[in-house]
């Protein structure tokens, strides 16, 4: 027989998340230490792992929340129709995804669901990103020879490629938006 979740649980969880946000605010995502979070929240280490499978699980929650907030914002605006408009609409998302190399790596690692029954917050976010872009593309003035589902997957692939190159010293000359624009124009409006 399953008992209801105690109020105390929610409070502890909230304290842990809040403490983690404070730590990140102060010194960034990569510098977060479980020990520090736990001390700031005033609980034992074991409690942390009773609430989150592992450190990454907490990170997933924190990152996905921020990313979803960016997408909320993008969805609230008028749907973009052109490549530059799409890039502009996604700018906050891409910007946050690349605040830290550590964050980007984490996002990539958890971008796919590892099992059907276990879609993590980040995998869920990527699905949403895909759906939002696909909807935009359906009403945009772009190529019509392939389904917009495919085009949206491509946008995601090029966005990740561009973000990846942002961290690469060999390709630091071109700016992020310029590079993505070149990719997406070639992908969405090919001259043949």
């Amino acid at each position: 027989m399953q008992r209801p979740i105690q109020k105390r649980t929610l409070k502890t969880r909230a304290r842990l998340i809040s403490a983690a946000e404070d730590v990140i605010q102060k010194s960034g995502y990569e510098a977060l230490r479980v020990e520090e979070v736990v001390q700031a929240a005033g609980v034992a280490k074991g409690t942390f792992f009773a609430h989150f499978r592992d450190k990454d699980a907490l990170m997933e929650i924190l990152l996905a929340e921020k990313l979803n907030a960016c997408l909320d914002q993008a969805e609230a605006e008028k749907p973009p129709k052109s490549v530059p408009q799409i890039i502009a609409a996604l700018e906050p998302v891409h910007s946050f995804m690349t605040v830290e190399r550590y964050v980007f790596d984490l996002l990539i690692r958890y971008s796919g669901a590892t099992a059907i029954a276990e879609i993590g917050p980040i995998a869920y976010f990527f699905e949403r990103y895909f759906r939002v872009v696909m909807m935009w593309l359906e009403d945009a003035n772009i190529r019509q020879d392939v389904p917009s589902e495919l085009l949206a997957e491509g946008v995601q692939a090029f966005a990740i490629q561009t973000m990846s190159l942002k961290f690469c010293a060999l390709h630091a000359s071109t700016s992020f938006s310029d590079r993505l624009k070149v990719y997406l124009e070639a992908w969405l409006t090919p001259a043949r």
Copy 2:
């Protein structure tokens, strides 16, 4: 004053690498433990880190060697001209890149040079992959409206996207090659 490297150094390094290969052979990349390698090689732990910056640095060396061998093979064959041929030529590379989730994550993490002066073996491999594909594309029967450099970057982006989806339970229905074929045909031979 710089003295020449001692023979002993090379021997120790070779023993470490060989021991690591044995361990991997036996139980895979993710299961590799520095302690185990060091014991098998008969040296102290500190010696390991005198030869490799960290565990990942050894992994980079081991992975890059395998990947370069795959590319050697691909380059030895007659250059592929069509999308299916290109996919077939790259199959061994892509196959090895996705033997383990752990391996794929590592490759992505080190795919870019972190600093101009520090191009790691894996970043170097990705450069080479790009150059090889670009050369193939220059003589292939594909779109000519954008430079083949851009097309090659796109192939890389789609290959990574496809590999990424291979690990994702949500997209497990389509086979790897089929999915990549759809992407590359839309990218390289758009109907507009």
